[in-house]
Structures are given as structure tokens and as C-alpha cells.
């Protein structure tokens, strides 16, 4: 690399790199450091290094929250995969006139703040909400649809479905239509076609989508906070409470570090899978 090019590169990259270092790397480093400090109600944290915060994790309550988080993450991913596949297939095979509109309808909810979508669900599922109003009108008793785990799964699924559909759609597009037709010509009905041809060939997309959905759902905060009630608490809720309410920052940091490690590993795998996929499609 010539000196001149090196200089230009430096100038161009400096603002971004500085920004990221100061406001990404340092804060994250700080969290890792704090996670091994001791909690102090008066001074927030004190130097004596300890593993007490990580040990606190093994308390049944916190293990329970962790298990709830993992469970909700897995169920959400599964539901997203089941609902997302038909949608991804449909979009991948759609002629371009309608594709624009369909993609727009898929992406817009994604870009709107999650609180708004959750508010909508609260209206639909709430005690005084639409479903119950319909039930009441039909003569049935009102049902408690909110403030439980299924409600959180519903909220997260609706939130994260586009994350599953987009990579999956890209993967299915790489399967030539003629290969599908060949399978049909050889006698494959819809299920056989899916099992023997579509699924194996679209697996990278499915894996990408699953990784993405999983990693975002295990770090959810707003959805469980508004739809989960007291019974359904996830690690995200814990972090929020410990940071802003209990002010036990060392403990909050340890939870954060655990989440970071798990999510980080998942996301790195995701990015790698996406790169493999992109090479197949021929897009940068």
C-alpha cells in the first residue's frame, strides 16, 4: 500500500473509527470490566475484583429467567421458520410487478418502532381489546390473552418474521425454476418437492434467518416488558431493571456480558452464512 493511499485511507476512516472506538469498544470494555467489580449501593461499584456477579447467575430465579429467554427464543425461531417459509417461497417466485409492493408491505412493519406494533397487539389481545370484544359479543367469557409467554412469542414472531423471510427469500431465488419443474415432472408432489429439493437447497437462507431471529429475540426487552407481565421475564428485562432500577451495575454488566457472548457468537455465524449465500447469488 503506497504511502499516499495509506494517508487517504486514514483520513477517510478516522472519523468512523474514532467514533466506534470511543462509543462502542470502550463502553463495551467498560461493561466487561464492571462485571467483575463488586456492587456498592453508595458508589455503584468498587474495585475489588470478584466473580460474585456471575455466581449470582446460578441462583434458581436467574437460571429460570435464562431458561425462559432461551425457550422463548427457540419457539419464536421455530414459528418464524414455519410461517416464514411459505412467504419467502411466494416472494421468491413472484413476478416483479407485485414484488415491489409485497416487499414494501414486508419491510415497513420492520422499520416502524416496535413499541407501536406492541401497542397494536395490546389493543387486539387486551382484556378490553378486539378479540375479547368479539368473544363477548358471541356470548363467550373474556379470556386473558396477555401477560404470558404465548403473548410474548406472538409479539416477537410478528416483529421478527421479516428477518426470517428476507434471507430465506434470497436463498430460494437461487434455485432455478426448472429444477422445481424437473422434480415435479419426475413425480414429486408439493411435500416431496419441499423436503427433497427446496429445503436442502435453501438451507443456508433458513439457517441465516434462524440465527438472526434467535439472536434478536433473546435480547428482547420491550416486548416482554409490555406483553409478558410479571411471569414472563427475559434477560433483557433483567438488564434494564438492574441498570435503571436496582442500580446494581456490576450484576447488570455480568448479565450483559453473558448475553453479548451468546448473541455475538450467533451473529458472527449469521454474517458468515450470509456471505456464503451472497457469493452464490453473485451479489456483493
Amino acid at each position: 500500500m503506497t504511502a499516499a493511499r495509506g494517508r487517504v485511507a486514514f483520513v477517510l476512516l478516522a472519523p468512523g473509527l474514532t467514533m466506534l472506538t470511543l462509543f462502542l469498544l470502550v463502553p463495551l470494555g467498560l461493561i466487561v470490566v464492571i462485571s467483575v467489580f463488586t456492587y456498592s449501593p453508595t458508589q455503584l461499584w468498587l474495585p475489588p475484583v470478584t466473580t460474585a456477579n456471575y455466581q449470582k447467575f446460578f441462583h434458581p430465579y436467574y437460571l429460570g429467567v435464562t431458561w425462559t429467554t432461551v425457550r422463548i427464543g427457540l419457539i419464536t425461531t421455530l414459528v418464524c421458520a414455519v410461517l416464514g417459509y411459505p412467504l419467502a417461497y411466494f416472494l421468491a417466485r413472484l413476478r416483479s410487478r407485485w414484488l415491489g409492493l409485497c416487499l414494501f408491505l414486508l419491510v415497513t412493519p420492520l422499520m416502524v418502532s416496535s413499541v407501536i406494533r406492541i401497542f397494536g397487539w395490546l389493543v387486539i389481545l387486551g382484556r378490553q381489546g378486539l378479540v375479547n370484544a368479539a368473544l363477548g359479543a358471541a356470548g363467550f367469557a373474556r379470556v386473558d390473552l396477555l401477560y404470558n409467554e404465548p403473548a410474548v412469542v406472538v409479539g416477537l414472531t410478528e416483529l421478527l418474521l421479516p428477518f426470517m423471510v428476507l434471507p430465506l427469500m434470497t436463498a430460494i431465488e437461487t434455485i432455478p425454476r426448472s429444477v422445481e419443474e424437473a422434480a415435479r415432472n419426475l413425480g414429486a408432489g408439493s411435500f416431496a418437492l419441499f423436503r427433497r429439493v427446496l429445503l436442502p437447497l435453501s438451507l443456508p437462507g433458513l439457517v441465516s434467518g434462524a440465527l438472526l431471529v434467535y439472536s434478536v429475540s433473546i435480547s428482547a426487552l420491550v416486548t416482554p416488558a409490555l406483553m409478558g407481565g410479571r411471569k414472563t421475564r427475559m434477560l433483557g428485562n433483567l438488564v434494564y431493571d438492574e441498570v435503571l432500577t436496582s442500580m446494581n451495575w456490576p450484576f447488570a454488566s455480568s448479565i450483559a456480558v453473558v448475553l453479548l457472548v451468546v448473541t455475538g457468537a450467533v451473529m458472527v455465524t449469521y454474517l458468515r452464512t450470509m456471505r456464503v449465500l451472497a457469493r452464490r447469488v453473485g451479489r456483493p
Binding site: 426448472s178 429444477v179 424437473a182 415435479r184 415432472n185 413425480g187 414429486a188 427433497r196 437447497l201
Partner: protein, 363 residues
């Protein structure tokens, strides 16, 4: 009847008629080509037979059973795709075994039938390879074997050779024909290459703009084209516009400009009717002495251009000052040099003059 019967097949997209009342039959074991330029509806017709397009009207029967309404995976017709459409994630063996596995045949039977199919297409020993590791010609054979393993009643081939280079194309052409004959399978072959169609087929269905122009044996299509389109599409032609001077069952005399030409073929035309004369370039003779030939169809001409093609000489001749004729001669037949400007006499045997109904120009 055994074999394929297509009757009045029609398929429209919005206002355009892609396939318009197409009818033809293929007897059991016959090799029938659908031949025409791109957009003529031949591929759509094939896809209707395979079930990937739904006809708006008409019937398709295989061995007497109607296929209309049957989804593609229940039709028992084998389709060889233009781009082969091999399953990239499966080995050659698994590709060929695919249909058999779907039908839950026992493993021993599958192994035997796959082996047989690969032997038929001369592709033994590549079982464990993936499609990406094969050449184009090899992939094509796998696609063929994949269909043959299921012993379908009907074999459909959608321009299977168009992605291969010339030499391979000619080689595969012969092999496909040999294989088809050996197995006695009814085959429908879509192509835009007239050479291919002429070489391979028992019957050719010439199509243009969604309609059938003519059905016949290769010889019939070449020597007695019934429309201007067919004459033009198959082989090279001299096509001259003219009108009928007189017609009888023994022959037709036509006037082209102020020339008179005699055809020894009776044609269904009336005096005064506008017609097109077809003369194949290789049937035109250049004669040295005017009295070497009987009187009619002798024309005085002048050489305009000579193109040396190695085996052939393509000579453009201007006849009677106005008409342009292309004459194909074997280079070995003429020992004298034909130079532009040379005076020549052109003679065409009355049996080589064909009269076709004039067609309205395409709108």
C-alpha cells in the same frame, strides 16, 4: 390410439394467441419434432403436454388417456430441460434415482434401474459426482437418464442440445436418435434448428405464430412445402412472386414478371391467382448450350456474384435483366471459372418448380 394425440390445443396470454388450435399426433415409437422460430408456440405446446402450462382449450391424450386436468407430477411423461435442471445438491446416482425414490421402489431395484439408465446414455462410473463436476454433454446425458429410469410413456425434449457446442451437438444428435429407436419411445422434440429436425424426425410439425404450418416427413417438408413460410424456413429458397397463367392436373404455367415458368406439379390454383414460385437453389442448372435442354424454363442470365464456400459455390444470377436467382453448385462440378458479368443460361426442370399460394404479408 397408442402414442400422443394433441387436438385443437389453444393457449392465450392476455390478447396474444400463443398456441392456436394446434393438432398433431405421434404414433407409438415415433420421433416428432416441433420446429419453428422463437415465439412460434412450440415450447408452450410442449409445456402444456408436460403440465406446466394449462391449455385454455383442446385435448391431450397419451395412449388414449386424457392428460387435461392432471397436475404435472402425475402425468408420467419425461421432460428433458434445455438447461438440464439437474439437482445440484444430489450426486449423479441420486439425480437419476430421484423419481424412483419418490415411488418408494426397493433399493435393489433402484440400483439396477439407475445403472441401466446410465448405461443407456453411456455414462457409467460417474455415479458419485455432482452436476457441477460434469461437462455440459455429461449433464445432458444425466438429465436424459433421469427421465429414462422411470420408463415414461412419452419423452419430451425441450431444445436439449442448444447449450452445447456444434461438434457435441452433432454427436449427441445421433446418440439421442439411436437411443430413442432402440427403446421405441414416443418422443416429442422441440427445436428451432431445421437441420436437427430434418436429421432426427419421423414427422416434423412446422409451427409459426402459434399455428401449425405443415406436418410431414422431413422429405415432404423439404421438397413439397405447402406454404411460403415453410418453404422459407426450411432450406434455402428462391421465392418469386407471380400469377397463374394456366392450370391443369398435369401442371401449371405461371408468369413471373414477363417470364413464363412451367411446373409439372398440379396445384390447386385458378387462372389469374397470385402465387409464389419456389425453386431450390441446388436444383437450378447452368447450361452451356441452349439446345441441350427442352424448351421451357430456359432463361438467359448474367452472373452477378460468386461466393466460394469450399464445398459449394453460391452464384447470384440476374435473369432476363430483372430477376435475382441464387444458384448452388458443387464447386467440383464446374470446371470453368464463373466470373461476375459472365453470360449464362439457366434451366430449371419443371419438376423442380413448385407453386405455393401467395400469402398476405404479415400485419
Amino acid at each position: 390410439m397408442r402414442g400422443l394425440e394433441v387436438r385443437d390445443l389453444t393457449r392465450c396470454y392476455s390478447d396474444a394467441v400463443v398456441v392456436g388450435r394446434v393438432s398433431f399426433t405421434a404414433a407409438e415409437g415415433e420421433f416428432v419434432s416441433l420446429l419453428g422460430p422463437s415465439g412460434c408456440g412450440k415450447t408452450t405446446t410442449l409445456r402444456c403436454i408436460a403440465g406446466f402450462e394449462t391449455a385454455d382449450a383442446g385435448d391431450i391424450r397419451v395412449d388414449g388417456q386424457s392428460l387435461v386436468g392432471l397436475p404435472p407430477h402425475r402425468r408420467d411423461v419425461g421432460l428433458v430441460f434445455q438447461n438440464y435442471a439437474l439437482f445440484p445438491h444430489l450426486t449423479v446416482f441420486e439425480n437419476v434415482a430421484f423419481g424412483l425414490r419418490l415411488r418408494r421402489r426397493p433399493a435393489a431395484e433402484i440400483a439396477r434401474r439407475v445403472d441401466e439408465a446410465l448405461r443407456l446414455v453411456d455414462l457409467v462410473g460417474l455415479d458419485a459426482r455432482h452436476p457441477s463436476q460434469l461437462s455440459g454433454g455429461q449433464q445432458q446425458r444425466v438429465a436424459l437418464a433421469r427421465c429414462l429410469a422411470l420408463e415414461p410413456r412419452l419423452l419430451l425434449l425441450d431444445e436439449p442440445l442448444s447449450n452445447l457446442d456444434l461438434k457435441l451437438r452433432l454427436q449427441m444428435r445421433t446418440e439421442i436418435r439411436k437411443l430413442q429407436r432402440r427403446l421405441g419411445k414416443t418422443a416429442i422434440y422441440v427445436t428451432h434448428d431445421q437441420g436437427e429436425a430434418l436429421a432426427l424426425s419421423d414427422q416434423i410439425v412446422v409451427m409459426s405464430r402459434g399455428r401449425v404450418e405443415q406436418i410431414g416427413t422431413p422429405r415432404e417438408i423439404y421438397e413439397t412445402p405447402r406454404t411460403r413460410f415453410v418453404a422459407d424456413f426450411i432450406g434455402a429458397s428462391n421465392l418469386l412472386a407471380g400469377s397463374v397463367a394456366s392450370a391443369s392436373s398435369d401442371g401449371v404455367v405461371v408468369r413471373v414478371g414477363n417470364l413464363s415458368l412451367t411446373s409439372s406439379h398440379g396445384a390447386d390454383v385458378a387462372s389469374g391467382q397470385a402465387i409464389t414460385v419456389l425453386i431450390r437453389p441446388e436444383r437450378v442448372r447452368l447450361v452451356l448450350r441452349a439446345d441441350d435442354r427442352p424448351g421451357s424454363n430456359l432463361l438467359a442470365g448474367r452472373v452477378v456474384d460468386v461466393v466460394y464456400l469450399g464445398e459449394d459455390l453460391q452464384v447470384s444470377v440476374e435473369v432476363e435483366g430483372r430477376l435475382a436467382l441464387t444458384v448452388n453448385l458443387k464447386a467440383s462440378d464446374t470446371d470453368k471459372e464463373l466470373a461476375p458479368g459472365a453470360a449464362v443460361t439457366v434451366w430449371i426442370a419443371p419438376s423442380d418448380v413448385r407453386v405455393l399460394p401467395a400469402e398476405r404479408e404479415a400485419s
